[in-house]
Every structure is written in C-alpha cells, then in structure tokens.
C-alpha cells in the first residue's frame, strides 16, 4: 500500500488468549487488529471458572503455568475491579492417607519449579475450611494461585492493547487464513503476522489442529459470603482431567468475590451439544456435596455448559504454523486457558520477535501434530 512499515499483526479470536496476545504484541510495538466472529469473550472464556492455577500434570504444563502465574502477578496492578482478581490460593484436598501420602511429592515438584506450597493436616483443613466434610486427611495449600473473572480480565487486556493502538473488530468472521493475511467475510486483511487464537474453533481455520471440544458443566449459587475461602480441588482432579475418558466428574469449588460459590467440574466428549446433561450434572453436584455437605443448603441460581479446547497430548498448541507464511497458532488450552493465556502471549510475542522465551517453547510447537502424524505407526 504505502511506505508505512510498522509491523502489523492480526489476532483471530477475542477470547482471553487472543486478548493476551494482542496485549503482548502491542506492547512490543506491533500494530494489532483483533477480529472475532462474535464479540470479545463470547466463547469458552466466558463460561469457565477463572482459576489461575499451577498445574503439574506434566513438566511442560508446570513450566507454562508457573510462567503465567508470574505474568499475572506482574499484570495485577493493571487490572481493574471488573477483573475480580482474588488471591485466594488453592487447597488440593486429600481424602485419605494414600492421597495424603502423595502430597509431599507434589510439594517437591512445585518447589523445584519455584512454586511455594504448604502441607496442611486434616485438622488444619477443618479449621480453614469448616464447611468441608470432617475427617479429610489433609491438603496442599498453594497460596500463589488466584481467581479472576475471565470476561472482565479479557476486556481489560483488550483495553490495554487498544490504548497502544490495537483495533478490535467484533462481528468479523475469519473465513480462511492465507499467507500473511486473513480472508474475512467482508474483506481480506493483510499483516506480517497472523495468530489463530480461535480456541475450540481454531480447527475451522487450521484443519490439521487436533482440538476437540471437551464439554464441562458449572453451577453457581446465590451469594453466601465466606462460605469458603480457597479454590478447593480434590487431588483426584488431575486424574479426571488427564484421562481422555468419555466422561468424568471431580470436586472443584471456588469462592467468587461476590460471595457466590462456583461449583464444578465435569468432562465429556459429546461434540458441540451444549445442552445440560442432567445426569452428569447431578453426579457433579453429588460429588460436591460429598466433600462439602453444607453445599446442600445453598441455592443454585444458574447451571451452564462450555467447551474446553482439548488436545490429545494435553498441551496447548503455541508457535509458528510453518505451512502458511506468517501464521502462528495459540489455541488448544483445554481447561487452563485463563491461567496460561499470559504465558501463551509471551511465547507468541517472543516467537514473532525472534527472542528466546523464559521457558522452553519447543514442546508447545503446533508443528508437533504434523511430525507425529508422519511417524510410522501413528497414522
């Protein structure tokens, strides 16, 4: 067009991952345009829990969550009331001696990654969370974890990007990703860099991405301030999250800053069927009441479902997609997208700038899905 040589970037998807990428790229001086077929935070971002959590499912996941938690801490002064940042910490609950026996190892793994934690006895747990059922074996407290309201944080990230000149175009559907550009329904946009941050819908633009919607249910209660004080997760949660079984439930309860209690979690592979599965929702709530009997007396005001963008190897797809010039992928975060949005944005900003990242970026490369498909026996 003209001699203008500001490097431009297009981010497809205005969920929290796209918003974080827009924020990071605009901070590096990129001229950023964010397009979303609906509106900011319309997809998975608005239906999740907003738990910012260090997760040790794999060393790579732990590295990315640890980096992200550091970045959330740096971002905290820039967040506003809408983001509802609450540094409540996480209590990983051990129901029996066997689970409690594994807590020490979890603490060592966290410590090696620079994440502080504290082992609580059963009595300690009863003291800090009296609404849990009596007789739990103990817990691991991770005080550095926190909770945000994801749509609020997403709007704030976009606001920070827009203050540096980024443009948000809502209601603009990307149809095709082309070399250094995006063909939209109305026009074709050109840029040096394009980021596919379309979440669970990312494969509609990059069909090779093995992302599937993994449905979850959540229920939220009316306001009962001080009913619980930490994000409460059963240690068995990782097993539920890790296994790609057709369905599972796990105890995951979160205090909101409004005084509401958010209750999860379920996992299902049923395509894009968003209807409430009342049987599974019932199992999820039964599990919640089993560990927290007082929940029975609270009134639930809303239940809903959402779709986690899940990958087969449980790691997000972050980095250059080399078959298309200038294209990067930032998608497939399953249930950790709120936490890892900031780490993802950091990896993307580093990759487009040719900088080294604070953590090893290679394990997240989306190109792994192509190379593993090419290996004999993995057809």
């Amino acid at each position: 067009m003209s001699a203008r040589r500001t490097s431009n970037a297009i981010v497809v998807g205005a969920g929290i991952v796209g918003a974080a990428c827009a924020e990071a790229l605009s901070r590096d001086g990129w001229g950023v345009t964010v397009v979303d077929k609906q509106f900011a935070s319309a997809g998975t971002t608005s239906v999740g829990m907003g738990h910012i959590v260090a997760m040790d499912d794999s060393p790579e996941q732990l590295a990315l969550t640890e980096l992200s938690i550091r970045l959330w801490r740096e971002l905290a002064p820039e967040l506003d009331a809408r983001s509802e940042l609450d540094r409540c910490g996480t209590l990983w609950l051990a129901e029996d001696a066997e689970q409690f026996g594994a807590v020490g190892e979890k603490q060592r793994v966290y410590a090696a990654a620079g994440i502080a934690s504290e082992v609580l006895s059963g009595d300690d747990v009863a003291r800090v969370e009296p609404n849990l059922r009596p007789g739990l074996a103990g817990a691991l407290l991770v005080p550095g974890d926190s909770v945000v309201y994801p749509p609020g944080a997403t709007l704030r990230l976009l606001e920070l990007a827009r203050a540096r000149g980024a443009v948000l175009r809502e209601g603009v559907e990307a149809i095709e990703l082309i070399d250094r550009g995006v063909r939209c329904a109305t026009d074709t946009l050109h840029a040096d860099v394009v980021v596919n941050a379309a979440g669970a819908a990312a494969p509609s633009l990059t069909p090779e991405l093995p992302i599937v919607p993994r449905k979850g249910h959540l229920a939220i209660t009316d306001r009962y301030p001080k009913f619980c004080h930490h994000q409460l997760v059963e240690l068995g949660y990782l097993a539920s999250a890790h296994k790609m079984t057709t369905e599972s439930v796990a105890f995951n309860v979160q205090p909101r800053s409004t005084g509401q209690v958010l209750i999860g979690s379920s996992r299902e592979l049923v395509g894009w069927d968003a209807s409430l599965n009342e049987r599974l929702l019932g199992e999820m709530l039964d599990r919640a009441v089993e560990l927290m009997p007082a929940l029975r007396d609270l009134s639930i005001i809303r239940c809903w479902t959402g779709f986690r963008p899940a990958t087969p190897d449980k790691l997000p797809l972050i980095g250059a997609w080399t078959p298309i010039d200038g294209l990067y992928v930032a998608a497939g975060h399953e249930g950790l997208g709120i936490t890892t949005s900031l780490g993802t944005a950091r990896l993307i900003a580093d990759a487009v700038a040719g900088r080294a990242s604070p953590i090893e970026a290679a394990p997240f490369s989306p190109m792994r899905v192509v190379s593993s498909a090419a290996e004999p026996g993995h057809a």
Binding site: D222, R223, P225, G259
Partner: protein
C-alpha cells in the same frame, strides 16, 4: 381479620404482625429500609410479590435468600434483612 397478633423478630426487634401476612408484607408494614443489598451495595425491595423477581430475599430463621413474598409469618420467626447477601 383476627384480633390475635403474632410476634416475630425483625433484625432482632420484636414486632407484632397479623397472622396470615406474608413476610414481605410484614416487613413493608414495619417499613424496613431494605430487604437485602445488591452486589453493588444498593438497597433492594420486592418488585413482583409473587416469587419471580427474587428482589425480596431475606434471611429467615438463619436461612439466607428466602423469598419473603412466598413465606407466611410464623410465631417467633426470625427475619433478618439488609445483609450483603
């Protein structure tokens, strides 16, 4: 209308009300300033009076979020209003 009044406790104060009155009506009769407080701290009071709007919630006998318009007063009932929940 019966002459027999019954006594309830509104925010710890003894109040005489007509038997058969809903809690919402009883609270309006004693002119409580607010049934509850919204997330943003605004005072709330009944709108629909038929259990739909949920604006009249009060804590009754220690149970939070009871719709005052759907409950009938009982002798000795403890009704608490204006809390942040």
């Amino acid at each position: 209308m019966s002459d027999a009044r019954l006594e309830v406790l509104v925010n710890g104060k003894r109040v005489e009300v007509e038997p058969g009155t809903t809690v919402a009506a009883a609270l309006l009769n004693v002119r409580v300033p607010s049934f509850r407080t919204s997330v943003r701290g605004d005072p709330r009071a009944p709108v629909c009076g038929m259990g739909v709007c949920y604006e009249c919630r009060a804590t009754i006998d220690g149970v939070a979020h009871q719709r005052a318009c759907l409950r009938v007063v009982e002798p000795g009932m403890r009704i608490d209003t204006g809390s942040g929940r």
